[in-house]
């Protein structure tokens, strides 16, 4: 199958004088054209780090390893100069906190038009016209072009940020918890909007969230991360019908009952391991109810286990242990 993005063994390590934190410990996944891939996991499991690594917008203290191909080009080793031409044209990102992600002293219009002027050499006039039609597309009155970020509502700001990300018609769009700060109504509107845009622009989307139920609404496939690693990848339906990894099962908790939607996710006792350095063996072992001797010795690889599914667990076949 044709792949628009394929990531191999992506690693992110933050180095401070005292410690090295391995925030992403070698993850691989790929994205088909028009696909929406969910990236799930608790806060701090490395979702933002992984996404930022693909954009190459990590701080200098971070080290990136592995490979990532977009349309045949390996982007993790590109010189900065080349990479700046890939950003926003091939791969763009919508950030978690739109308020902070926007420059408070520049108009919305300018901020949407800016990449058009830089990448596509649009003259200012034309870039602003294009910005206006992008705003209209995300259902913001184009008159708002000359507004400053603080003059918009939270939902509008997030839609403006989406419009900004679409400016150069990227192949891949990463949305990092784009609705976390918003209320449920607005959240639903934004998700609808993203789905429409995917169809209209032929986008491929990576949608990051800690909320599996939210991901179920929008994603074709979901990759579950734990402590810097992908532990399970599955089509959305399959994952909810039959989660294989003990962590996924715990996350879904009562939701596993077919067709029934639980209101809350089960909270899992215990905390993720410290990643400086990560412990040997399976990282989930301290919190796992299927843990066995093998788990503490070797790290389980992410292996194919049937149609379109992969899981990283030594005991995924094991019977349910009621919790």
């Amino acid at each position: 199958m044709e792949r628009i993005l394929s990531v191999k063994d992506l690693r992110v390590t933050y180095r401070t004088p005292a410690v090295a934190v391995e925030a992403v410990g070698g993850i691989s996944f790929s994205l088909a054209p028009g696909e929406i891939l969910g990236l799930a996991g608790e806060s701090g499991c490395g979702k933002t780090s992984a996404a930022s690594a693909l954009m190459r917008i990590l701080p200098h203290t971070a080290e990136i390893g592995g490979e990532a191909f977009i349309g045949g080009t390996e982007i993790l080793s590109l010189p900065e100069e080349e990479m700046s031409k890939i950003r926003w044209r091939k791969i763009a990102m919508v950030f978690q906190n739109a308020q902070a992600a926007l420059n408070p002293t520049k108009t919305i219009g300018y901020q949407i038009a800016e990449p058009l002027m830089i990448h596509l050499r649009y003259p200012r006039r034309r870039a602003l016209e294009e910005a206006a039609s992008l705003l209209a597309r995300v259902r913001i009155d184009p008159k708002r072009l000359t507004d400053y970020p603080h003059q918009l509502s939270g939902g509008m700001r997030q839609r403006a940020v989406i419009a900004m990300a679409l400016a150069c018609r990227p192949l891949v769009l990463i949305a990092d918890e784009p609705t976390t700060a918003l209320d449920v109504m607005v959240q639903a509107q934004i998700i609808e909007l993203l789905k429409e845009l995917r169809d209209e622009y032929g986008l491929s989307l990576i949608y990051i969230s800690h909320d599996l139920l939210l991901l179920a609404e929008i994603c074709d496939r979901i990759a579950v991360m734990y402590a810097g690693l992908v532990v399970e990848v599955a089509p959305t339906g399959g994952l909810f019908q039959r989660p294989l990894h003990p962590y996924t099962r715990k996350l879904l908790g009562a939701v596993t009952v077919l067709g029934v939607r639980a209101q809350r996710l089960e909270t899992i006792p215990g905390a993720p391991p410290r990643l400086a350095p990560p412990p040997p063996g399976c990282r989930f072992a301290p919190r796992c109810d299927r843990v066995s001797g093998a788990c503490r010795e070797g790290m389980p690889p992410l292996e194919p286990v049937g149609k379109g599914r992969r899981v990283a667990c030594w005991n995924w076949r094991g019977e349910d242990v009621p919790s």
Binding site: P17, I57, L58, P59, H60, T61
Partner: protein, 285 residues
Amino acid sequence: MAEIKEAFRTSPFGKAGLAIVGIFIILAIVGPYIAPYDPWKTADEIEDILAPPSWAHPLGTDELGRDILSQVIHGTRITLIIGLSAAAIAVVVGTVVGVTAGYFGGVLDAMLMRITDSFLSMPFIVLAIVIVSLLGRSLGNIILAIGLVQWTQAARITRAQTLSIKERVFVLRARALGAGPFYIMRRHILPNVLPLVFANMTLVTSLAILSEAFLSFLGLGDPTKFSWGIIIRYAFETGAVSIGAWWYFLPAGICIMLVVLGFSFISNTLDEALNPKLRRGQVVI
């Protein structure tokens, strides 16, 4: 506290600042015992007048044949005493003003802040010049003058900090339990503003040392003592510049620069440790 230790452990500037200041403090303490000559002792021989550095006088002599090295060593103590005492006065005044203004708020706050603004707008060197010219050129008056013009920063810093602390839960609870304002200030506010006050004091010390040098250079130093500023003033008056007697003013100026730099390195390191925004944030571009 842990952050401060960590900052000094990881910052070369912090270490350099501590080292420089430490060395000069030791010199200030033992100076008078290790100085080769009495700094006031004049020479009898004409060739010892404004003599360039030699084995007998490693930093040469002045127009009266007095040993410059001994003057500089003695000057360390005077300069540091002026710098540290003036800074102490400044932060005490500033903290009292700032905490009072922040804690009581209202009209008192507005009044104190306008007074702070007025002092901030008056060029402190001119104010200090006026105070010393009117009071007389003694060590105590110089310290007082510098202290009384440098308190504004401490006032602003402690006021801001007090404003944020007094709304915290433990203070509100203490107040609800009937604790008086002075008890709360002593128990809750002061411990929280002290690190900032201390950081500010290191910066004010370097400003005070510079101010002393400026006052001395303008002829307002204490004529009965040797400070580094006074040595440079004497050199200027004597015309050391035009006759090329570099040894007369170079060492004292280098000492001023090093000490001021040392204190400002310490102050910067403390600032980075105490400013959460600088500590946490990371630059991506």
